[in-house]
Structure formats: structure tokens, C-alpha cells
């Protein structure tokens, strides 16, 4: 579905990503994890063309992403960021249906799809007329998810979608999200720094450090056959927090 071939990125003097090869399989959930600054958000940005690689290339559905193809490709990829990235001048409903309206969908089709998504994401009907400033953090993320799903994309890209939520809301939303992923059988790429979250969602995990992939595989794979002492240290650090009963960093 999505492949990176020797894709690399620098920001000025800093090497954000070393040349990376990665294949995202259709219908599966891939979680990218690693400490902050490891390049995981940059990796996600490469996938929908928000970040343009300095060398190598990114292919979506078999064709390379270029300036000409990127807009069409983005319409087949839903994208959710922390706190939703919702437009404050539009109501929740207008945020969700924005692209459908840009593309000239009929009103009835838009209404049906909106209702479908509202039920799927357990979003209250009364909230649709509210502006983002009038919604709670969890509701904002549900609206962000609806917006990403509106055009029924092939791929969902999620950049720390739950990072800004308090633990109880986060827990509910995790449950709902996993149910949605399973139900829709979408290809999902999720970025997180929380191993618990990765374990909860992932079919496959990519662990990154300093702009490079340290190891890729299932959770069991990484924990039982670490490719590098860093993998073990990362796992232990996160487990340590669980042992103390605190929240993940």
C-alpha cells in the first residue's frame, strides 16, 4: 500500500531521517514508536507528502508521490494529529464534511455519511453544531477521526492521536479506536511514544531512534529477540513505569 525506498530527510544541518526502507501492508495496523525527536512524525509526514524526502522516494498504491500526484493521494489518506487540528471557524459537522463539500458531494450523501461516522465514533448528535472551542479533548479527537474517515480513505495516518488526553478519556478512546480499525479493516499507521498503546493497537511495530529504524516486527518479536540493547532498554523503561503504577511518559 505504502512503501518508502531509501527515503531520507534533513532539516538544515540536522539529519532527521537516515535513508529508510519500509513497507506498510494493507489492512494492517503499523505502530511507529520511539523517544521524542527520533523522527517518527517526520516518517509519517513522508507518507502523505507533508514532508518531501531529500533522496529516495515514497510510493502510494504503486505510484511515487510527486507534486502532481500528492493532492489526489492525500484524499485517499486520512490524517489525524494531536488535538485534532480542527478548523476553529467551522462547526464539528462542517469540519468533518469540508472535503466532501469541496468535491461537490450531494447534500444527502454528505448527511448519510456524517451520520454513519457519528455513530461509528460514538459522537453525540448535539455536538455536531458546536465549534471546536466548545468541545472536550476526547470529542475533538472523535471529530478529527470522522474528518479523516469522511472520504472513506484507504489509509489512516495518526500522529499521537491520544497524546493530549487525560488517562480515562484516553482509555475509552483507545477501545473505540481499536474497534473502528478492526471493523473497517483499514490500513493504519499510528505514531506514539507509549509502548502500552503500541501493544494495544499494533499488528506490527517499528521502533525508531535518532532518525533510523532500530527494529521492526511484532511486539513478541521485539521483546524476545531484541536486535539492539536499545530495544531492551526502551522496553524496560516503559515497564518500569507500569511497575510503579504511574502513567506512561
Amino acid at each position: 500500500m505504502l512503501t518508502l525506498e531509501q527515503a531520507a530527510k534533513r532539516f538544515g544541518e540536522t539529519r532527521a531521517l537516515h535513508p529508510i526502507d519500509l513497507t506498510v501492508s494493507p489492512g494492517r495496523t503499523l505502530v511507529v514508536i520511539g523517544p521524542s525527536g527520533c523522527g517518527k512524525s517526520t516518517l509519517l509526514g513522508l507518507m502523505n507528502g507533508l514532508v518531501v524526502p531529500d533522496s529516495g522516494r515514497v510510493c502510494f498504491a504503486g505510484a511515487p508521490l510527486t507534486a502532481e500526484t500528492v493532492t489526489a493521494a492525500r484524499r485517499r489518506m486520512g490524517y489525524v494529529i494531536q488535538e485534532g487540528g480542527l478548523f476553529p471557524h467551522l462547526t464539528a459537522a462542517d469540519n468533518v464534511t469540508l472535503m466532501a463539500r469541496v468535491l461537490g458531494w450531494e447534500q444527502a450523501r454528505i448527511g448519510t455519511r456524517l451520520e454513519e461516522l457519528r455513530q461509528l465514533t460514538h459522537f453525540p448528535a448535539a455536538g455536531l453544531a458546536r465549534f471546536p472551542g466548545e468541545l472536550s479533548g476526547g470529542q475533538l479527537q472523535r471529530v478529527g477521526l470522522m474528518r479523516a474517515l469522511m472520504l472513506d480513505p484507504d489509509v489512516l495516518l495518526l500522529d499521537e492521536p491520544l497524546g493530549a488526553l487525560d488517562p480515562l478519556i484516553r482509555f475509552d478512546l483507545q477501545e473505540d479506536l481499536r474497534e473502528i480499525f478492526t471493523r473497517l479493516a483499514k490500513t493504519v499507521v499510528m505514531v506514539t511514544h507509549d509502548l502500552g498503546e503500541a501493544a494495544f493497537f499494533a499488528d506490527s511495530i517499528v521502533l525508531m531512534r535518532e532518525g533510523a529504524i532500530v527494529q521492526q516486527g511484532t511486539l513478541a518479536n521485539l521483546s524476545e529477540r531484541p536486535a539492539d540493547p536499545f530495544v531492551t532498554r526502551f522496553f524496560e523503561a516503559q515497564r518500569g513505569h507500569w511497575a510503579e503504577g504511574g502513567a506512561a511518559p
Partner: protein, 505 residues
């Protein structure tokens, strides 16, 4: 949706500007009179207007447009058809390099420029030098040549007299005057200086009402330095073809207005508080036996007329500025190189004093509404361009990325996301431009655009506070109304989701 709503709210404003535009334009067959910015010229302009109106023609008087050069150029360009002038001014100043020997030569020179002059009105408003009577008697001065015996005398001359070809430099040479203490000052202030003893000698217009009022001694021009400044109406030759009745009406005043009568009219307006219209009408009915009456409009009608003129200036210039500035602001934001040039240029325009900008427009566009509208338009650009740019630049990175990631084209992003998000800041810029525009438009009166500046100008000339307030108060009220209207518009145009944000920029 938001954009459509924004546009539909702006539509009535544009429609209003279009409706008002014809009011600013002149009727094709209207006779247009101009006058210089001193009382005598305004009285003569009113007399001309009343006579032409009496002949049954449509006529309009644009008062106190400026000095000789402004009126002369406006006549040549055809912005006006008639204005009162003095033969000496034309021969010794405007056409000085032709060294015209007499008024016959002057008529020939005018004809070459498509201009004509009426027969002389009957008075000679020459330059003269004046002194306080007691001081002149004490020093035994009666003639200008007597001044050479008193080199310590202090001279105070009007600014125009200091510079003119027939003014102080020529006078000094002609009489070999030795005085070194010579300063330029406002003509009206000269009288006060003379009375207070701060200066000894000033220049006079021989029909000045103040000569009699202050009991001044007028020094004899014994070497005949000053030419005759015989008052005439100067008009375009095409007026004779277009409206012969207007020319006949002007000729009714030939040799009917002597120096004493002119001086009394000046006195009535400057010292006794009569309006120029009433003074001129009184004279015309007494001297010519016309049925002319002072057709002064009521305060309400004057205010209405000026409000229309003022609003026309503001709405057209502001409407055009909004239409141009928002795209300029968008380009400035999208292309950094072009942005620097655009912001630099509109910033540079703003540093020009508004008055200078207005005067720069005269050679390009003449006098009246159009140059004032262009100057106000240029002046309104900066706040709107800058706020459009700032509003767009202030949109946060997450929102930008969201719009991109949705797969929106640049145009859709601009129209549906960027401009609506920047709308509060853009609207604040338009509000700033509008309030500045309302105030600056009062200067439009200086170049004949009318509006609330007209009574302010008259009030300054006549030292009449009531007249100044007649312009200043409505201008201030209009500025407040504009401010209030924009605050209402903000509440209606800005979606609820953006309203908690501060609309500053």
C-alpha cells in the same frame, strides 16, 4: 459558506458606492466656477454663481480651491470653467515670462491658451504697503520711496508676496529698499502684528477691509512698481460656445464693482460675519437691480450635501482599497520576495503626508473628487494589506498541515480556510483604514472635493469657530459611526468559533 456570507455582506457597501458615484460626478452642462482661498475671491465666485443661476443655468461654485497656480491649471485642464482673477497677477506672475505690455497683449496670450477674460469688474485690487497711521505720521512716511530713509523698519509680508515675481524681491530692487528685518507671515496675522507694533510695514491688498477697520496708512506707489490688478472673470473660450448665456451673465458685472464697494463686501464677510452668498446677493440686487436672492442652503441641507460628498469619497476609495489590498496581502503572504516589495511600497505611501499626497494628485488628475479618491485609496492600502498578510501569517502550523493533509487545492485552502481564519484581523485592518479615511477625507476640501473639510477650511480663513465645528463635529461623529458599524459587522461576519480570539493586528 463563510466566504459567500462575507461577500454578501460586502455587496450592499459596493452597491451604495456605485449609487453615490454619480452624485460626485458633475452634470455635463453645469457651469463650474472656482475661487481662490481668500475671501474676496470667494465673494466674486458667489456673485458669478448667482448671476449665472439668475440666467437660468445649472451652476456650481467650488470654493477656496487654493492659490493662483491651482486655479489656473484647473481652468486650463477644464476642471472649472470660470474663476475670478486679476490682470496684474496674470501679467506679472502667471505669464510673467511673456512680458506682456498691456491688457490687450494679455487677451491675445489668453486666447492662445483657449481662455478669455470678462471686461474688468471695476476695481483694482493692487498690492500696496501699509503702516499704522500714527507710526507713519511720526516718521513722516507717505510714499514707498520714503522708506529708504528708515533702514531699521521691520517688514512683515504675506508668504505669497515674499515669493512672487511682482512681490518683495522686485519691489526691493525697484525702490532700493535697505531694510534687512523682513519676515514672511500669514497675511491675516500681518494686521495683528502691525496693530501690536511687532512689525512696522506690511503688504496690503488695496480692497482689504482691514485697511479702514484698523485705520492704516496706505503708502503711495510713487515709482509705479505694481501693475494694475484689475479684477476680471477668467473663463474657458468653450464656455462662450457651450453656454453663451453664462458669459453674458458674467458681463453684467462689468465696471459695476468699484474698490469701495469691494472693500465693503470684504468687510461685511470678514469683520461682520455675513456669508459670502449674502454679501454677494445683497450687492447684486442693490447695484444691478436683479431679483437675485441669497440662496444659502439651510444647515440641514448643507450637512446632507457634505455628508453625501464625504461618504462618496470614503466609500469609493475604501471599497477600491479593500478590493485591491486583500489580493495584495495574499500575494505578499504567498510569495516572500513579492511580499517584501508590496509591503515596502504600501508602507512608503503611508509615510507621505496626506496633504502632500493630495497635492501630488493635482497635476495627474486635476482637482475635485477623483484625485481625492485616488489619494484616499492609496492611503487606505497599508492597514488592509498589512493585516491581510499578518492574519494569514498568524495561522498556526497544525491548521496549515491539516488543510494540506486533507488534499485541498491552494485555491480552496485560501477561500475556505486561510481567509476565514484571517478574517478578524483583516476586518480590523479595514476598520483602521476606514476610520483614518474618514478623517483624512476632510483634507479633500483643499483640492475641491467638498465634504466635511469645506466648512473647516472656511472657518480657518474667517477665524470662525462655528464654521470649523460644522465640519469637525460631523467628521468625528462619522468616524465613530464607522467604528460602531465595523464592530457590528465583526459580530455578524466572524463565526462564533473565532470570536473569542483577539481581532488585533
Amino acid at each position: 459558506m463563510t466566504r459567500a456570507r462575507f461577500a454578501s455582506r460586502l455587496l450592499p457597501l459596493a452597491a451604495l458606492a456605485l449609487l453615490l458615484a454619480p452624485l460626485a460626478a458633475r452634470a455635463a452642462d453645469e457651469v463650474r466656477i472656482g475661487s481662490k482661498k481668500f475671501t474676496e475671491s470667494v465673494i466674486l465666485g458667489e456673485a458669478a454663481r448667482l448671476l449665472i443661476k439668475d440666467a437660468g443655468l445649472a451652476v456650481r461654485h467650488r470654493r477656496e480651491l487654493g492659490g493662483t497656480a491651482v486655479l489656473w491649471n484647473a481652468l486650463l485642464r477644464g476642471d472649472i470653467d470660470v474663476y475670478p482673477e486679476y490682470t496684474g497677477t496674470l501679467r506679472a506672475e502667471t505669464l510673467a515670462r511673456l512680458k506682456l505690455a498691456d491688457d490687450a497683449a494679455l487677451e491675445a496670450a489668453l486666447a492662445k491658451r483657449g481662455l478669455r477674460m470678462s471686461p474688468p469688474l471695476g476695481f483694482n485690487n493692487t498690492y500696496a504697503l501699509g503702516m499704522a497711521r500714527a507710526r507713519a505720521a511720526e516718521l513722516g512716511i507717505a510714499r514707498i520711496s520714503d522708506l529708504t530713509r528708515h533702514p531699521g523698519l521691520r517688514f512683515g509680508f504675506g508668504n505669497e508676496f515674499m515669493d512672487r515675481g511682482d512681490g518683495w524681491p522686485a519691489l526691493k530692487r525697484r525702490y532700493r529698499l535697505p531694510q534687512a528685518d523682513v519676515r514672511g507671515l500669514d497675511h491675516d496675522l500681518g494686521y495683528r502684528g502691525l496693530v501690536a507694533g511687532e512689525i512696522d510695514v506690511m503688504d496690503l491688498y488695496s480692497t482689504d477691509a482691514e485697511i479702514a477697520y484698523y485705520g492704516l496708512a496706505v503708502l503711495v506707489d510713487d515709482l509705479r512698481h505694481f501693475p494694475a490688478y484689475r479684477a476680471v472673470f477668467l473663463y474657458r473660450a468653450d464656455l462662450a460656445a457651450r453656454a453663451p448665456a453664462a458669459v453674458r451673465a458674467l458681463e453684467r458685472l462689468a465696471e459695476r464693482l468699484d474698490a469701495g464697494a469691494m472693500s465693503r463686501l470684504n468687510r461685511a464677510v470678514k469683520l461682520e460675519g455675513a456669508s459670502e452668498t449674502r454679501a454677494a446677493a445683497g450687492f447684486l440686487s442693490a447695484r444691478l437691480g436683479t431679483g437675485v436672492i441669497a440662496d444659502e442652503s439651510s444647515l440641514g441641507a448643507r450637512l446632507w450635501q457634505r455628508t453625501i460628498e464625504h461618504l462618496t469619497l470614503v466609500l469609493i476609495s475604501l471599497g477600491a482599497a479593500v478590493g485591491i489590498s486583500i489580493p495584495l496581502g495574499v500575494v505578499a503572504f504567498r510569495r516572500r520576495g513579492a511580499g517584501r516589495v508590496i509591503l515596502g511600497m504600501v508602507g512608503a505611501i503611508q509615510t507621505l503626508p496626506a496633504l502632500a499626497l493630495l497635492v501630488f494628485m493635482i497635476p495627474l488628475l486635476g482637482i475635485g473628487g477623483p484625485p481625492a479618491v485616488v489619494a484616499l485609496f492609496l492611503y487606505s492600502l497599508l492597514p488592509i494589506v498589512r493585516n491581510t498578510h499578518a492574519g494569514l501569517a498568524g495561522i498556526g502550523a497544525p491548521l496549515r498541515r491539516s488543510a494540506l493533509a486533507l488534499g485541498m487545492e491552494a485555491r480552496d485552502r485560501l477561500v475556505r480556510i486561510e481567509l476565514p481564519l484571517a478574517a478578524p484581523v483583516i476586518l480590523a485592518g479595514i476598520k483602521t483604514a476606514a476610520v483614518i479615511n474618514v478623517g483624512t477625507a476632510t483634507l479633500g476640501a483643499l483640492i475641491g472635493a467638498g465634504g466635511y473639510g469645506q466648512p473647516i477650511l472656511t472657518g480657518i480663513r474667517l477665524d470662525d469657530t462655528a464654521s470649523i465645528l460644522e465640519g469637525a463635529l460631523p467628521a468625528a461623529l462619522l468616524a465613530l459611526a464607522v467604528q460602531a458599524a465595523f464592530e457590528m459587522a465583526e459580530r455578524r461576519l466572524i463565526p462564533r468559533g473565532l470570536r473569542h480570539r483577539v481581532a488585533a493586528g
